[in-house]
Amino acid sequence: MDKIEKIDERGVWEKIADQLRSRSMWMLHYCTGCGAVELPPSMTSRFDMERLGMGPMATPRQADLFLVTGYLSTKTLRRVIYTYEKMADPKYVIGFGSCTINGGIYYDSYSTINRLDQYLPVDLYIAGCMPRPEAILNAFTKLMDMIRKGEADGWKRYNENYEWYKQNQLRSLGEVVVYDEFHE
């Protein structure tokens, strides 16, 4: 993605709303890989992400922030996409660790997805294998900053470039084969 200074197109209400959104980010952590283990320390008493207004949510419908915590295979990617599409706008995605950036240590596996942002609009990556809680909290504050400035516009991009994302997703996953092993 090119770093182009965008003109802030948001209205007043939108700006106020973004302020609120940044201070109340409810997250859904999709525990695909080892990154998930770093979340409990960031939630509990040492780092306590609730003071930032963040908290875990049970379903994608309620969540604003989608954490993809680790490497993705073709199998999990499909779930990730379903889950992402269930979330309500505006929604943000953070990719955890090098696996989501370039496949990490599994980069040459036949079933690993190497670049998450080909399939979903990632607002922020956290480098590291794995990122420590400090890095995670750092990323959260960074994301909050981005939201306030209106830079975290991954959900808009996804809507605008939906065809492109869909194409990539289909290329990796193939057509969905409807097969009901119980009833058909």
Binding site: W13, R21, S24, T59, Q62, A88
Partner: protein
């Protein structure tokens, strides 16, 4: 005048309800040795959810949410908040209790209307839990109604004077407190909305403003239920005294909930139908036979 009073009750419920919820979160955090969110965090959460663009599953979902909030707002109007009594004499206990159920029914209907089975399971659990806590609650309050020969909340509130029902009916108060824990859906009676188990139960398909409206409904409901407890057992009082008492009860509830695990739903019902119901009948026995302190 009535309109002003009703508006006052709504605004109190809105501001102090959300504020106290924030304080409750702070207290829980402190119990867990965390720093915790800011006290106004719940306002942010509420307005954030309202600002989002959500999904709806059809008209029953929309209607259910409106009915839930509307029902609770309606019942809230009858609850005396300290000195503010909107409908003196007409704040009948049973009217309030049954008006609550409009909200619950609306919520249950809307949520099951999403078509998600988790929601159905959550609602089924919530209703079952309701079967548990309402019965001892209503019996123990019933003994008070019998004692005061009135079922008007404000009349009972003012009849206490300085002599709180908490001391007159200690066992009844205990039962009501245990039931309150279930009504508020706090631990250990949290099974209907178990987030990790059934994906937050009824709320599973709630997004954006629907979530916000239900959060508001939940706040109002908590406010109304705790207010009832304060009115009935702690003698209400003037506006600020009332809020103080409210805060004390709320903190107590939050403290209890923050240190307890979760009952399974049948354990909860079994519990309610053994200990509190027996206690409630002990209270009834004492009241009927004149052992009121």
């Amino acid at each position: 005048m009535t309109v002003l009073k009703v508006a006052g009750i709504f605004l109190t419920a809105f501001f102090f309800g959300l504020t106290f919820e924030g304080i409750g979160r702070k207290i829980t955090a402190r119990v867990q040795r965390r720093y915790g969110p800011r006290w106004y965090q719940n306002f942010i959460d509420l307005f954030k959810t309202l600002s989002k663009h959500g999904y709806t599953h059809g008209w029953i979902f929309d209607f259910g949410v409106i009915m839930a909030l509307g029902g609770i707002i309606a019942s809230l109007g009858f609850v005396p908040v300290g000195g503010i009594v909107a409908f003196p004499g007409m704040d009948n206990f049973f009217v309030i209790v049954y008006l609550f159920t409009i909200g619950s029914l609306g919520m249950a209907m809307g949520m099951v209307g999403t078509g998600n089975p988790w929601a159905s399971i959550g609602v089924a659990r919530a209703l079952t839990l309701m079967l548990g806590y309402e019965v001892p609650y209503m019996i123990s309050i019933g003994s008070m109604l019998y004692f005061y020969r009135t079922s008007s909340i404000s009349a009972i509130m003012s009849a206490q004077g300085g002599d709180w029902n908490l001391f007159k009916f200690p066992i009844g108060a205990l039962v009501a407190l245990i039931s309150l824990q279930g009504m508020l859906g706090k631990e250990p009676f949290e099974a209907p909305i178990a987030p990790a188990e059934i994906a937050s139960g009824p709320m599973v398909e709630l997004s954006a403003k629907y979530m916000g409206l239900l959060m508001l409904m939940n706040t109002f409901m908590e406010f109304a239920e705790i207010s009832l407890f304060v009115d009935l057992f702690l003698g209400g009082g003037t506006y600020f005294v009332f809020l103080l008492k409210y805060l004390v009860v709320w903190v107590l509830v939050v403290l209890i909930s923050s240190v307890l695990p979760r009952f399974r739903i049948e354990q909860a019902v079994y519990f309610y139908w053994t200990v509190p119901i027996i206690l409630a009948f002990v209270q009834v026995f004492m009241t009927v036979n004149g052992f009121v302190f």
